[in-house]
Symmetry: C2
Subunit: 141 residues, 2 copies
């Protein structure tokens, strides 16, 4: 954890790299990698350790969500660069997010098709083709 060295008695809400990564479901390696390539900036404690404030956590969370929905590192880099360039870049950022939304919707559709195929197989293997709840063979789940 970040140092307990509170000179003041204010409870500062910061997290260590492992705490953040546990919450977000990524490894510390990945978080360091993202920082290395410029996707986020993280402060340091006096001893050089990363200190994640709310802003850094939120940014990392955003990065994880975009990655998990198929945005590539290069597009994410582009987006972050636009953010750093200021307000004038909102139109392009908006476009990136709209493209991303479209991709996510398509991915969900694909997954739903795959889910249908998978449930069909489960029905075939697990019991009668029209039976998905009280199959004669499989009886758990």
């Amino acid at each position: 954890m970040p140092p307990t060295t509170d000179s003041a008695s204010i409870p500062i809400e910061t997290l260590s790299i492992s705490e953040v990564c546990n919450r977000l479901g990524i490894t510390a390696h990945t978080a360091r990698y993202y920082e290395r390539i410029g996707l986020l900036h993280v402060g340091r404690s006096p001893s050089g350790r990363r200190v994640f404030d709310q802003r850094a956590v939120d940014r990392l969370d955003f990065l994880v969500r975009m990655r998990s929905s198929g945005m590539g590192i290069s597009e994410l880099t582009r987006y972050v660069d636009l953010v750093n360039q200021g307000e004038s870049t909102t139109p392009e950022r908006l476009q990136i997010m709209r493209d991303q939304r479209q991709r996510i919707i398509e991915q969900i559709r694909d997954l739903e098709r795959a889910l249908t195929a998978t449930e069909y197989k489960i029905a075939v293997y697990g019991g009668a083709p029209d039976d998905t709840s009280h199959s004669p063979k499989g009886h758990h789940s």
Copy 2:
């Protein structure tokens, strides 16, 4: 296309690799790769070209759906091997499909979270939070 050399006049419903791949949204390279690693078997015309019958198309379609929903090549190989081993392997196949279903459901949940985050950004950049069609700023789609 497969040869028009019909000795009989029966309209044989087979497809060339490019026709199949166009329908399924993959490249011919990928289909050949899947065949090479044993995920499907495809017949050949007298001149050595791949001839996809309904069975081969269905198999490839299944492979594509499983891949698109995150099943790895190695697990897909395992599954196909089980199918080739016959009926006695249905319990393990069932388990693989149940695991797959679970993964798909989790992926859909993740994507829905990402979609929420994305739509939030769109609302922030694009104007009013409840406005998705007639944005006041962005005007070149």
